[in-house]
Symmetry: C2
Subunit: 351 residues, 2 copies
Amino acid sequence: MNRFFSKTCHRLIPYVPGEQPEIGQFIKLNTNENPYPPAPGVAEVLSTVAPALLRLYPDPTAKDLRTAIAAHYGVQQNEVFVGNGSDEVLAFVFQAFFGSEDAIAFPDITYSFYPVYANLYNIPYTTVPLTNAWAVDLSVYPKPLKGIVLANPNAPTGLTLSPEVIEEALKKRPDTLFVVDEAYVDFGGASVIPLVHSYSNLLVVKTMSKSRAFAGMRVGYAVGQSDLLEGIIRVKDSFNSYPLDIIAQKAATASFQDTPYFEQRRQQVIETRERFVQSLNEIGLSVLPSKANFVFVSKPGFDGTAILSYLRENGVLVRHFQKPRLAPWVRVTIGTDSQMSEVVDLLKKWV
Amino acid sequence: MNRFFSKTCHRLIPYVPGEQPEIGQFIKLNTNENPYPPAPGVAEVLSTVAPALLRLYPDPTAKDLRTAIAAHYGVQQNEVFVGNGSDEVLAFVFQAFFGSEDAIAFPDITYSFYPVYANLYNIPYTTVPLTNAWAVDLSVYPKPLKGIVLANPNAPTGLTLSPEVIEEALKKRPDTLFVVDEAYVDFGGASVIPLVHSYSNLLVVKTMSKSRAFAGMRVGYAVGQSDLLEGIIRVKDSFNSYPLDIIAQKAATASFQDTPYFEQRRQQVIETRERFVQSLNEIGLSVLPSKANFVFVSKPGFDGTAILSYLRENGVLVRHFQKPRLAPWVRVTIGTDSQMSEVVDLLKKWV
């Protein structure tokens, strides 16, 4: 390692994202992207934005975008924070609320960026095993905790917790901040955003990457009580005053202004998923009950890498995770109907 | 403060950027933006990019953009790191190389984000006063230091250090990492990027916001030896895998592919600055010798807020800084020739 690396830099174990191959080579079902384009209003923004606007700094508070998001959820604009993808928002959240003197916890199987953030900011963390049925059981989390971080639906399993279960935990642990990462909730889960006004210990983080087909545009947001968000704003304003460029702000606003398109596209993904799961069950594969835009698939007795390699040889990318309990499984993103039919046909031959 | 704020969050004193008023209301000379639009190729990217591309994650390493930047400077692409504005790049640099066990230094008068980063990452820092002639004197910096951070040209004074002076310091302090922030160097300063291959203790940070009219697009970069950049990459991959969206990557690449346009526009700004400085001298105002796209102006015996208020009442925004030594001064960004003539006419009346 270079002699100038800081102590923090020495201890880092960076996150490794899914592979981004050359477009066109593969059916790409490995990083939970949306198979459909973003709302038509987004295309309109790109084709009409004045390039001369780029010479000016963007609105550092992204007020128009926050207003559009707030209107969508029926909250106030000062209850919405936006950032450069939900990864950046989560990084700010970890630094704003947790430190080396705090203890936090999250499931042993969840979004693998959480331990990376904890490590980046030197935050002691405990991982709590999922149950045998792959569920998050909040009753077994240690006490006291400054924070609990939950992906809901969880990744890469796709299983959800109901808002009732989360609300019970919010009541039982008023001194624990619950960070609920709803990256995938629009595909059939139930959001806890309606609970934000009642619970000062709840912060919801969302991304536009999945359900709004914005992975390439990098926009994420958090919804919570305004004095809680103030902490995230303090970190952001000590890091980068302008995390969202002018075009991202305008394009994201256009997406939030077209709810019918959003509803139609997410329903399409949900319906494709349900058909895909039924087909996989029919050919004898195990599938966890997913409310996300991906499913976790295995064939008992086989390693997931066998499925991954077979699909890759046949032009389909999926994702495998190197953890003992996850070894038999692969995560398959829900694409279009015709893409998923192709995967089903391939898996029929393999089985 | 909210009960969930971390210790870090408690101690933060965020950076305050210059005012971003409604466009059209003012001649905006307060945040060092470029008066001209970005290269024509950028407009072409915006009008031809396929919106469907947005559904896919961008290249996390921004290879095409790094290749274009590397070609411009005659370095290798693994000697270039790109991020979401040079503010993000600087934040990564502070965290990658400096920590609570290190000592760093920078001038007492310089870009006011440096102490904010130091505070964010709990890095002990010393500020070293500029000389009476507003110069950075590296011979008076304390020893030992893990890092020295220099804006060259310095802000908000506009004064430069020559590459020879910086090279001498690089030799004298081989165990000190020099972070040279060349945000404004394209307006007449001399870059130290040619020294990068010879000195492992040099890291150059640049922004596209000023000389490439990209403030609204948020693209910054660092140039240094590849094993040094590896530290910044580790921090970035522990924070946000994809800091630059697809459109920013493509637009920035287009800018670097049009060197004649870049040369023409920066010459225009330089010529306007020289004419403006001459006019100010003629009406008896003090102006520091600037190699940036701004000048630092005062009238002995008057507080800078007097100039600021007068110009604001007449539709021109400039910037004033609340530090004792800076109190008499205002910083005026170089706009178009006609904008600067208007400012000269207004100041003539005021004087």
